[in-house]
């Protein structure tokens, strides 16, 4: 069966606390933390971008897969912060990792679900016998305007997954995608920051698509929430995924391991994929995982995975996601943060 043969994540070392942002704008930190359920978020270093994050995550995936990179036939990076408007992120990655030049490369964009989109296409290529292995990545250095609610959540990180048919770590049992035209969040060409529809991003967008995809995925599979050891959903803030999961019938305990948003923020295309890596780090053979992403615009991709015996052999071969989240942290003040994120203009 087709499944994940290698996975890896990357979390930058830099952080900013929600309290630091709240004090800059005079916001009530107690209300912010209670409303968003977030304590801090990751910030990319000055020399980090979607490409460097994708490569760091993909190298960790390759360590766990233990395959010849030349056998990877497709590389897809999903992001809404590709460094170039015109010039692919994936070309840098293939040359950095010794993949190709006989490889199909594309950059995807679908707000926060571009990563699961890359996973879905990579998985489909292997399932169709187009190639032996395919790599799907979600990575972002997300943007949030100064003073906007998004500034508390927009963060940086990524996750990479190599799909194949041999030595599989987690089988893909079922998939489903659910999409409609919904203008809940967007960024026009040449604009630095996205705009959003405020409360319209909730029920008509996030919950409609994520719950629509999740409920059909359960129906397709004939499974019920209690059949799963773990569940992970797109994490734009702390509250939304917990509410969505409970609506579908999942418990807090099932969602705990993949719920990384309180320490990481919303890594956009890397959000639910990074949560999935945190689950794969500790999942036991035979356990099932339920995952549904969400991307504004809007749509959701759903996956059901089943961990295989091989997973236990590779979990320690690369850094684990929660170890990176709880590992080295370099906290920034707000001035440093806006300089790192290029939110202020310096003199030449």
């Amino acid at each position: 069966m087709v499944g994940i043969v290698g996975y890896g994540a990357y979390v930058p070392a830099y952080r900013i606390k929600a309290g630091t942002i709240a004090s800059q704008w005079g916001d009530d930190i107690v209300a912010i933390e209670r409303g968003l359920l977030m304590k801090e978020k990751t910030v990319p270093g000055r020399d980090e971008d979607t490409i460097t994050i994708a490569i760091a995550a993909a190298k960790n995936a390759l360590k766990r897969a233990g395959i010849d990179p030349q056998k990877i036939g497709a590389v897809y990076i999903g992001s809404e912060s590709h460094p170039y408007a015109v010039k692919p992120s994936g070309t840098v990655l293939v040359d950095a990792m010794g993949i190709g030049p006989d490889v199909h490369v594309a950059d995807f964009e679908f707000a926060c679900k571009a990563g699961s989109e890359a996973m879905y296409v990579a998985y489909s290529h292997v399932k169709a016998d187009n190639m032996e292995y395919a790599l799907g990545i979600g990575a972002d250095t997300s943007q949030g305007a100064p003073g906007d609610a998004l500034e508390y959540s927009a963060s940086a990180g990524g996750a990479a997954f190599i799909f194949g048919k041999t030595n599989v770590l987690a089988d893909v049992l079922y998939t489903h995608s659910y999409t409609s035209d919904t203008a809940d969040f967007w960024r026009r060409e040449y604009q630095h920051y996205p705009r959003h529809g405020g409360r319209f991003t909730g029920e008509p967008a996030y919950f409609k698509h994520l719950l629509g995809c999740g409920s059909i995925l359960l129906e397709k599979s004939g499974m019920k929430p209690s059949d799963f050891a773990h569940a992970v959903f797109h994490m734009p803030n702390g509250k939304f995924p917990l509410k969505a999961g409970k609506t579908l019938g999942f418990t807090q305990e099932q969602m705990d391991q993949g719920w990384v948003v309180n320490l990481m923020g919303n890594t956009y295309s890397g959000s639910s994929p990074t949560g999935l890596t945190a689950i794969l780090d500790i999942v036991k053979p035979g356990e099932k995982i339920f995952m549904v992403s969400f991307g504004s615009g809007a749509g959701s991709d759903g996956f059901i995975f089943e961990a295989q015996d091989k997973i236990a052999e590779v979990q320690d071969l690369a850094p684990k996601t929660r170890d990176m989240l709880n590992g080295k942290k370099i906290y920034l003040d707000y001035g440093q943060y806006v300089a790192y994120r290029k939110k202020i203009r310096f003199g030449e």
């Binding site: 000055r46 020399d47 980090e48 490409i51 460097t52 950095a96 080295k328 300089a339 310096f346």
Partner: protein, 129 residues
């Protein structure tokens, strides 16, 4: 770096740490085609494993324009496990964490941007391990 043809030419060593190893055992990164010590022209290409040790370092407080906003930052001479000696930035650490003899890993990062409209130069930097 700085122009597209040179940037493309340097991809093997900057992206993948491809080095040259001469018969004498000397290893060089960036690549050399004549060994500066022996004059030897016969070499094999090897890929460095990406770990090494800091031989010396300094902190840059006044930098060229492309790096001016990053000051202060650390530059080190690193000897890789294969014996190549290279100069690189050491990032994601504070000055008081750096020591001669510290072990480092070479990671893939953005090295410089050619202004807001030019190409972005990627390559290796070091982090403490």
């Amino acid at each position: 770096m700085a122009i597209s043809p040179r940037y493309s030419r340097e991809i093997p060593h900057r992206y993948r740490l491809e080095a040259t190893k001469f018969k004498s055992g000397k290893v060089y990164l960036p690549t050399r085609y004549i060994c500066p010590e022996t004059g030897d022209r016969e070499f094999e290409k090897i890929t460095l494993n990406g770990t090494g040790t800091i031989l010396s370092y300094t902190i840059i407080h006044i930098a060229s324009d492309a790096y001016a906003k990053q000051t202060p930052f650390a530059i080190a001479i690193v000897e890789t496990d294969e014996g190549a000696r290279l100069t690189t930035q050491v990032v994601d650490c504070k000055e008081d964490e750096l020591k001669i003899g510290s072990r480092v890993e070479l990671i893939f990062r953005k090295v410089m941007e050619e202004g807001d409209a030019g190409i972005i130069n990627y390559g290796y930097k070091a982090i403490l391990i």
